[in-house]
């Protein structure tokens, strides 16, 4: 009767445990989501188009050619021309830029403002928290598009002002998320333990709170983008966003004026791009949510 023992005489337990890191597991979950994968592919595609537009576009976005105005798609102009004879394909390519700019930059600023405020509010509590909560309430009192509209109107429509206005309405999102997380983490015993050991606050924030916040922040970043993209499209549509002659899909829809009924290519392509983009960013955010298993308590 032989018994199987390892060293120290303890029984040897054969286990093959598959150690998956957090991000590896997240990627696996993300991959399963069809919409999320579409989102990823499309966003990469549109980034390439936007960044390399000057090299990819057959014409300049600004080349007016009234002889060829309002032409349906043809060999020379694959997506047709607009009312000033400008090539639609090139304009659509260039229009990716303001959309991407607004989408990403807005959220970056929103996070830069919202996250520190949220962490401070959640961790410090008391008066600071009260102030931040009041601010959150205040900035949520009106629907975002009214605030953005008003600000852009008053400050004169431009891309920069649009980003500014959107940042003002978007910072609330990440702030809420981070504050909620900080509040719940702060209640945990291990934070008490760290404080009891005399660990300085900034280290607690860095080692305990931030690592848990990181996936959540990534998600809130992603979740804010569809709204910003929609805002850019909508406001440019109303004439309040990107300034002509710079193209934007929303603006192209707005500019289509009375002609688009006879030349549907003028609204189909910009409209399609807007929809596909919002869908893609939405998918990205949705995929991130299931991938990192977000449980957001606001």
């Amino acid at each position: 009767m032989t018994s199987l023992t390892g060293h120290l005489g303890a029984p040897v337990v054969e286990e093959r445990v598959r150690h998956a890191g957090f991000w590896a597991g997240a990627w696996r979950r993300y991959r399963r989501n069809l919409l999320a994968m579409y989102g990823l592919v499309f966003v990469v595609f549109i980034l390439i188009v936007g960044i390399f537009a000057p090299w990819l576009a057959p014409y300049s976005y600004n080349k007016v050619n009234l002889d060829h105005a309002l032409e349906p798609p043809s060999a020379a102009y694959p997506l047709g021309t607009d009312q000033l004879g400008r090539d639609m394909l090139s304009r659509i390519m260039y229009a990716a830029r303001p959309m991407l700019l607004v989408g990403f930059v807005t959220q970056i600023f929103a996070q830069l403002i919202g996250v520190p405020m949220g962490i401070i509010a959640g961790y410090a509590g008391g008066a600071l928290d009260w102030i931040v909560t009041r601010l959150i309430d205040f900035f949520s009192a009106l629907p975002w598009y009214l605030v953005v509209l008003y600000l852009v109107m008053v400050l004169r429509p431009s891309l920069e002002n649009l980003i500014l206005a959107l940042t003002i309405t978007s910072w609330v999102g990440p702030c809420r998320v981070v504050r909620g997380l900080t509040l719940s983490v702060r209640e945990q015993d291990y934070v008490d333990a760290a404080q009891a050991l005399g660990i300085p606050t900034r280290l607690i924030l860095k080692n305990h709170i931030f690592p848990q916040a990181a996936p959540l922040l990534l998600w809130s970043f992603a979740v804010g983008i569809p709204t910003s993209v929609f805002a850019e499209a909508g406001l440019s549509f109303l004439g309040m966003g990107v300034r002509p002659p710079n193209p934007s899909w929303g603006m192209m829809l707005g500019e289509a004026g009375q002609w688009w009924i006879y030349r549907p290519h003028m609204f189909i392509f910009p409209g399609l791009m807007i929809t596909l983009s919002v869908l893609a960013f939405q998918g990205l955010a949705d995929g991130l949510r299931t991938a990192i298993d977000v449980n957001v308590n606001i």
Partner: protein, 313 residues
């Protein structure tokens, strides 16, 4: 309960005051004014000065604000520069029905269809019906309303000529069909998904298992246990949709040429019509605050956990 209500009310009022202050200061702080946009087309400095004096714009900002505030409390928001023969309140009330009709119908459409689809998806979890409904909801929910508006106008108004392409005429309900559809369909997606989520969460909870273990049959479990619990988060999410949509989506109104509040807000901002802008802003803020308030109260009514405090035993 009363104490809580009063505190909330106080918070709402404070927010409103702050909001109005903010808007007020912002609008005055930016250079330029209504005279720049050809409202009464005063041009010379003397005319501008006269205009300012007429509307009290030459006084210091805080004075202007206090004057406005005093009037606002009595619901007198002054007259819009663009239409001085009416008061702001009158104008708002005149334009509101257009937005309210379109928005209200759109919300009703979205909620009715969305809830039905969501319940089907929940009942047939993980089957084809569920996957189709879910995907359709996601896609449809992300199409911007005004883009959908274009598509609808192109097909149904221009090509098929079934419906007018907008504006406001006396052809009755026909004018409403396209804008309501464009506004309501994207919202349906969100409603369906949320309904499904609330239902699924209720269906997979422990008390449903207990109910089955007790011998209750599926119909009874669904109505007495699942629905009653699922409806709570559903109602609290769907009710605010009405005021939100009734106050007019700017984009829809622009696309379909509906003279609603949203459109007026845009044009008022554009022409620096301060009284109008402030009036509409406050109106909106009040409506939204009121909605949250009502939702809160409703929550207390339908969820006994909120309504009653714990007794010890």
């Amino acid at each position: 309960m009363l104490d809580y209500t009063l505190r909330r009310l106080g918070g709402v009022l404070a927010t409103l005051v702050l909001l109005s202050m903010f808007t007020f200061v912002l609008s005055r702080a930016i250079p330029g004014g209504p005279w720049d946009v050809g409202v009464e087309i005063p041009r010379t400095p003397e005319q501008i000065a006269m205009f300012k004096e007429k509307y009290g714009l030459d006084k210091p900002i805080w004075q202007q604000y206090l004057v406005w505030l005093r009037n606002a409390v009595t619901l007198d928001f002054g007259s819009p520069y663009m239409a001085p023969e009416m008061s702001v309140t009158q104008l708002i009330l005149r334009q509101l029905p257009y937005s309210a009709l379109v928005g209200g119908l759109a919300a009703a459409l979205a909620i009715t269809v969305g809830v039905i689809l969501g319940m089907i998806a929940a009942a047939r979890q993980n089957t084809w019906a569920d996957i189709v409904i879910n995907s359709a909801a996601v896609v449809v929910g992300t199409i911007p309303g005004f883009v959908l508006g274009f598509v609808l106008i192109y097909f149904f108004a221009a090509k098929l000529r079934w419906f007018p392409s907008g504006g406001w005429s006396d052809t009755g309900y026909k004018t409403l069909v396209l804008p309501v559809t464009a506004f309501g369909v994207p919202a349906t997606g969100g409603v369906a998904r949320w309904t499904r989520q609330c239902m699924v969460e209720a269906m997979s909870s422990d008390y449903v298992r207990t109910a089955y273990a007790k011998g209750v049959r599926q119909a009874g479990v669904m109505s007495r246990h699942v629905l009653r619990n699922a409806l709570i988060p559903m109602i609290t999410s769907f009710l605010p949709m009405f005021p939100a949509m009734m106050t007019g989506s700017v984009f829809i109104e622009h696309t379909f040429g509906i003279p609603g509040l949203g459109q007026w807000f845009v044009s008022s901002s554009f022409s620096r019509d301060y009284p109008m802008v402030l009036g509409i802003t406050i109106f909106w803020a009040v409506l939204i605050a009121l909605t949250y308030f009502v939702t809160d109260i409703l929550y207390g009514v339908i969820d006994p956990r909120v309504r009653l405090t714990e007794k010890e035993g």
